[in-house]
Amino acid sequence: MKIPFNVDANTARLIGRENVSKLDGAILELVKNAYDADANTCILYYEKSTNMFYLIDNGSGMTSETIHSNWMTIGYSSKKENYKLHSGRIQTGAKGIGRFALDRIADNCKMLSKTKTESVLWSVNWSDFNSGTKITDVGADFEITNIDFCNYTNEILNNDLKSLIKAKCHDSGTIFKLQNLRDTWTTTLIEDIKKSLATLIPPEIDNIFQLYVFSENSKLEESKITVNSNDYSYDYKIDFNVDESGNTRILIKRDEFDFGNKFNEVVREPYFTSKDAEYFKGKPIEKNYVFNEILSDIDINTIGPFKGTLYFAKLSNTKDEKEKYFYKDISSRRDTRDTFGGIKIYRDNFRVRPYGEPKTTTFDWLLLSNRKSKSPAAISHPTGAWRVAADQMLGAVHISRLNINLPDQSNREGIVETKEFAYFREFLIFVIQEIEKDRQYVCRILRQYYDDTHPIEIYEDEINEKSANNKSNNKGQQKKTLIDAKKAKAVIDTKQEQIKDLEDENRLLRTLATTGIVTNSYIHEIKDVVHKLNIKILTAQQALEKGKSEEHIKQKLEEALDLQKKFNSWFTVTIEMVKRDKRKMTYIPMKKLFEDFIESWQEVLSEKNVQISLNVVETNFKCFPYDIESIISNLITNSINSFEYAAIKNKTININLTQENNELRLLYEDNGKGLSEKYKKNPNLILEPFETSKRDANSNLIGTGMGMWIVNKTVKEYYGDVDLSQNKERETGFIVNINLKGVFK
């Protein structure tokens, strides 16, 4: 005996939700369904007064049979096997989950679907798909009806929309009425949806698929989604038109580059012409050809008139390329290749399958990938020809019944491979070459501009190249590998500058790490202060509400202010160190720096009952203030941690700073627990990264082990050293001698 499986209704719903999680995704899914249903009009309508959403299309509609056998079977898609419609349009989806987009939008869904033979009403409450119910136990209401589209939408308040439905929806189509919407439909949301659809649907399908987004008061004109607008993001656009005699007009539009405020600096002689400047600003490049200039030896246009629009659109570019070629930002460009990609053919606005169909072998029917693999040159290659990749091109070529030499195959599965069809393909390749030539022209110049403005990279390349040659060549040819000293010097200078930048960055990162260490060390205290501050404020608020005495409330607020002061003192020791003025190397009066810095610690130290004795020489030392502060912060933090471990009554830190010749000598000691046994024999081990003996209450190691490593690294920057040898003899307490070399004033 076999036992059948079943599925929890909610699981089916979740699968749908997985695929359609966002509102704009759900809307696009339904619009695609309308496109797949062969509609030439698709209308979205949100009615504020009733909080209802309508989705209307004049596609082929569904019969009761289709609804029973296809629509009601989750995961079933007729598009898997039968992806061509009567019109020849190729359907875009194939997963059979598009209907769950309705669930994403609203809880209640009613549908009127009309074919040439019958009309059906169908409705479902998605909340019926709850956990615990088997999918086979969930039903949708279904009935055959006589109602027509106009009557079904009679309650709609927008008259323009009613007129449009009357004009466009006759014989077939589908209307969804969605209630209990899951989102709050604001004007902004509707505008966002309009914008999103305008950027997602390529302009080339505008003639065959018109999309409207209505709201309650919107007029017809403003509701139409103008997909031909500039919203569609591309890099190059090329329009071409061939008349009966073969005269060809090509318009190329560059929209790939963004020079920002460098426009006048880059787009100028000797790099670009004044005409180029106009082209970059949006003027199309116009080219006119007679037929045999395009197809050699073919004098007469036997294909007939045709036209089209093609787009070149990259999907990514590297930071390096963006800098070199001034590519505009395309980070927000969405990948819609699976739906709208490919170069498609339309005959009298109806799709001729299967050309340009995504994810099929006929997607690249112009064999652009072959061209690319034969000539893989980079865009800036001085001699090689750059070619577009197949997935970077999309667009539409429009032919008509008048193109008799491009006849449909008898099985309606494409165009007969006549010699005219071969010419036709050759022609399109020529058009694509126009984009390639122009783009390569621009990019070669931009590469030249980059090389001119970045000579060091060229020199570096030369050095690397000659070094490589030197290894492979014999000694007799060594002369050829000599480097001009000036060039080498320029490269070295640049590299040194880069090293200095990296050193500065490193220094800043060390200081930030110290900030992190200090913050991490005192995070318990900081959290405690924040908590107490919150409690004080809440107590004051409640006291106020309970009508307690003014004096009581005032006392609570004063205590809150004290806590705030304490809180600020933590911030001072943790954050202040990285202030901009502390990141400049200059002559710093050491006494003042130490006094001010210890003062900022004072509040924190007195909280911990730690006394600091400071004895600092009056001298001006050239340094980054935050380096010195970083050293002291790390040492103090270690001392405070050490005091926590030992029950010491008089917690003391002594800081003694003297100057000897060109050296600054810091003697730092505390009377804390001292180094742990692990480090007593070899104290220098604590200068290694990740060395720590700090443990939490559960004896877990919790120190970062970076503090003394940072101290040592910073000291090394001043050609100094860290002497920990005296700790070997000490039973308790910590002592370190630090020398910093430098310039004094």
């Binding site: 318990h524 959290k527 405690d528 908590h531 107490k532 919150n534 409690i535 004080k536 809440l538 107590t539 409640q542 006291a543 609570k556 939490d696 209450a697 559960n698 877990n700």
Partner: protein, 209 residues
């Protein structure tokens, strides 16, 4: 003052007054004072008729034990008393595995009106649980008392009887009972043996005389 008595121990008592004020509509919060050992804290709990107990995790500034260790001790002595850890660092307390994480609360719960309401109600409910369980303790005590009177009580049960009595007495559930009741069966037997031994010794003495 609310009728629900909550004990609170913290080595830093600076927030105590605020906690007590914030929770005053729900419970009466009492601060543990003058205790140095865990047993001291237990005694303090009984003396103050505490019905629910809150401890900070880190008590090291004043005590030789931390909050979770104290709660472990209290749970053994007074299993029916709900004991809660209130800390800024719940993770540290949880990682010790001495107190169930359900009973470890982040102090931030007291930083909002909503949290305060929830926590106050939870404390109230905990005291109700304790008081209801005191009835059960009373029943257990009576069973053991009967055994005691019937002289069928074991040594462990006798010890338990004394513990239960001290708890019930502390929470005014029991009047003073005659001290005879609590005289151990064992000590009775030892007394009898000693009496016999004394008699034997005196008899022997007489013989020798």
């Amino acid at each position: 003052m609310c009728e629900y008595n909550i004990g609170y121990i913290d080595d830093d008592s600076s927030a105590f007054k605020d906690y007590a004020e914030l929770l005053e509509n729900y419970v009466t919060l009492k601060l543990v004072e003058n205790c140095s050992t865990k047993q001291d804290v237990y005694n303090w709990i009984l003396e103050n008729k505490i019905e629910c107990f809150i401890a900070d995790f880190k008590l090291s500034d004043q005590y030789t034990f931390n909050g979770t260790e104290l709660l472990e001790f209290l749970n053994k002595k007074l299993p029916d008393l709900v004991c809660i850890i209130l800390t800024n660092y719940p993770c540290d307390s949880i990682s010790e595995n001495l107190v169930s994480s359900i009973l470890i609360k982040d102090r931030s719960i007291l930083s909002s009106v909503e949290g305060l309401t929830t926590f106050g109600e939870e404390l109230k409910q905990a005291t109700k649980v304790f008081n209801k369980r005191l009835v059960n303790i009373e029943n257990d005590f009576n069973i053991l008392l009967v055994k005691k009177r019937e002289k069928t009580i074991t040594t462990n049960e006798e010890e338990s009887l004394l513990n239960l009595y001290s708890v019930l007495k502390a929470y005014n559930r029991m009047d003073d009972l005659p001290s005879e009741i609590f005289k151990s069966e064992i000590s009775d037997k030892i007394d009898k043996i000693l009496e016999l031994a004394t008699q034997c010794v005196s008899l022997e003495k007489k013989k020798n005389d």
